[in-house]
Symmetry: C2
Subunit: 340 residues, 2 copies
DNA sequence: TTTTATATTGCAATCGATTGCAAAGAGGCG
DNA sequence: CGCCTCTTTGCAATCGATTGCAATATAAAA
């Protein structure tokens, strides 16, 4: 632990008896410098615990080697910051960014996303933006796209949007989830979720597709608008329990959180899951396996998602063309869907 | 949306007919500059969508106005990145940092925390470090403290450590949780947790204090080493169920996650909660209220914790002296503790 | 009217690393 | 021996904002 104050490159240059230019090149292992010199300079730098001043480098190179992650988790539509998936995604993004030599700036609840682009990109804090929380077709993202700044969004591809996304194959996931319920003999399958949200819209499409392919007519009464939260799942379940005209034998919930809320309410009302009502969720929340009964769900590969967000954003920054990603999903069968 | 390339301060100076120095001062609203001039310069800057180049400023001022958050979530001792509390803490830290004009760098699973101090502080990426995940008396933190770099740790104060912490009053929380069980007539109260972890050591102290004050002898057989995970809570419950010589009428779990795992296992074994075994957890995990029965728990004010971490770290960076913080906790009574 | 105090603004050095270009040295070839 | 090539290193400009100090203008005091 050398307690010496901060050395600069010129100190190292003096110690090694070479110029600053040589030190700079040696430290990045440039072929321009004789191997012997290179190693000597590197050894001296290490010995004196010298670290390149990133602020100076960023300034000179006009690159920050930093990505900014913006969490647009809007209480309004019931997403909570505490969602397990957020943290997993964030962790994966952080790991992948580090792996590519990028630092990660984090921002939550920005007052204004327009300012945000200014704040991060124009003022040279970050080279690109990862937006998590597509919201309900947020027009601010479209404006961001117009401005031409490098960014990428976690969520669903929508033809009317002009930005790149990474997300799961929500349509296919929902299709398979609902088909599973159908195979288990369920015919009146409720949909709980908020279809105004792009990802959920795709899940609703998958739900419809599955019913159609099974020859089951679509019934709008079975669509129960629900936000992402456990509490809203809990509350909207009243509708199912208390309305005597409402009949369903299964529920497809667009998130495990909703499913957890539903199951809590059903348990209180002594409705048996899966015997009376079967349930399939989405996300494979770590809790899904610990609920009683275990929740059958659609697993997203969130860690892969984080990696792809980073890789593709870096490609965008580097001026390459990248496409949307809809990652494969996997149905995880537990007890709640009524499988044998 | 001006698509103009990046303006510099000298552009604004030219447009305003003043010097760069004046622009610089005007933009930070310095009293040195005539109010009229100030407003005019600000207006021009706004009009042209000029943003100060942070890289240049940081370089010149030798301050980064950035804090680095390091997540030391070690799978080894069962903490999962997906823990709800992590995300809440992180969100609160991010908000508070933004409020103080600091950016937030995020890093998870660093290879080496020593390098980390170099990486962030010495190479001028951040002004200070927030460490989350104190671990089992991590010696690396002690080394970090020796090096004199500004940092702060979420966790528990231990006399043998030479760094500043922010955390909850774990001892008091545990004391009240266990006292509640005692008041409900329980006398054989198991402790589930890993006392090698500083925060848990304090909770064990609180547990012991409560028993002592209630005149109940401490029984080492009732201490069940358990890591932080739901799954370990689930597994260690076997001990309670399957060992015929083991008798307890209540469990104090050092985290709600453990409590959830325990309850899952007890439900499978058809042990009634709270009638046969009462349970109190810790954290007030958002799930605690959604478990059946709802889990009585000790709530930590995590959002406040995040704020204090940031404020105190900034004080440390500014050279002020700050003390440890043990935030007040609150027992949240639900059904699992067997209250009337 | 001269002097002094005050309010504004500008000059110019500075932060530390990077990089295009030039220069010096080493070796090869005719 | 002279010319050319290739390797290795150094020179010096540059990135953009900040700030101590000096300079100027303006007002107040003598």
């Amino acid at each position: 632990m050398t307690k010496s104050k901060n050395l600069t490159m010129s100190d190292i240059a003096r110690l090694a008896g070479v110029s600053e230019a040589t030190v700079s090149r040696a430290l990045k292992n440039s072929e321009l410098i004789n191997k012997e010199t290179r190693l000597r300079v590197q050894a001296i730098a290490r010995e004196h615990n010298y670290k390149v001043n990133t602020a100076a480098r960023n300034f000179r190179t006009q690159k920050t080697h930093t990505l900014a992650v913006v969490l647009l988790v809007d209480k309004e539509w019931g997403h909570e910051v505490s969602d397990a998936f957020l943290m997993v995604l964030l962790g994966s993004i952080a790991d992948e960014a580090a792996h590519h030599g990028y630092d990660l700036l984090l921002s939550t609840n920005p007052h204004d996303i327009d300012d945000l682009a200014d704040y991060y990109i124009d003022s040279k804090r970050a080279d690109g933006l990862i937006i998590i929380g597509q919201g309900r077709n947020d027009p601010r993202l479209d404006r961001l796209a117009e401005s031409g700044r490098p960014f990428i969004v976690w969520g669903a591809e929508m033809p009317e949007h002009d930005y790149i996304t990474v997300g799961s194959d929500n349509r296919k996931g929902a299709y398979e989830a609902v088909s599973l319920l159908v195979r288990n003999g369920r015919t009146r399958i409720a949909f709980m979720g908020d279809a105004r949200h792009p990802e959920m819209e795709h899940r609703l499409d998958g739900y419809s597709d599955a019913l159609r392919d099974a020859g089951i007519p679509f019934d709008a009464n079975l669509i129960i608008p629900t936000d992402f939260s456990r509490s809203d799942g809990y509350m909207k379940t009243d509708h199912i329990i208390l309305d005597p005209t409402f009949k369903c034998d299964a529920i497809f919930a667009v998130s495990d959180n909703i499913a957890l809320g539903v199951m809590k309410r059903l348990a209180e009302a002594e409705v048996k899951v899966p015997e009376e009502i079967a349930i399939v969720g989405f996300d494979d929340n770590p809790l899904a396996v610990f609920a009683t009964p275990g929740i059958t769900t659609v697993r997203q590969d969130i860690r892969l998602g984080g990696k792809l967000l980073v890789r593709n954003l870096i490609d965008i920054i580097d001026g390459k063309t990248v496409g949307h990603v809809a990652m494969p999903v996997e149905v995880i069968v537990r007890e709640s869907c009524g499988n044998a």
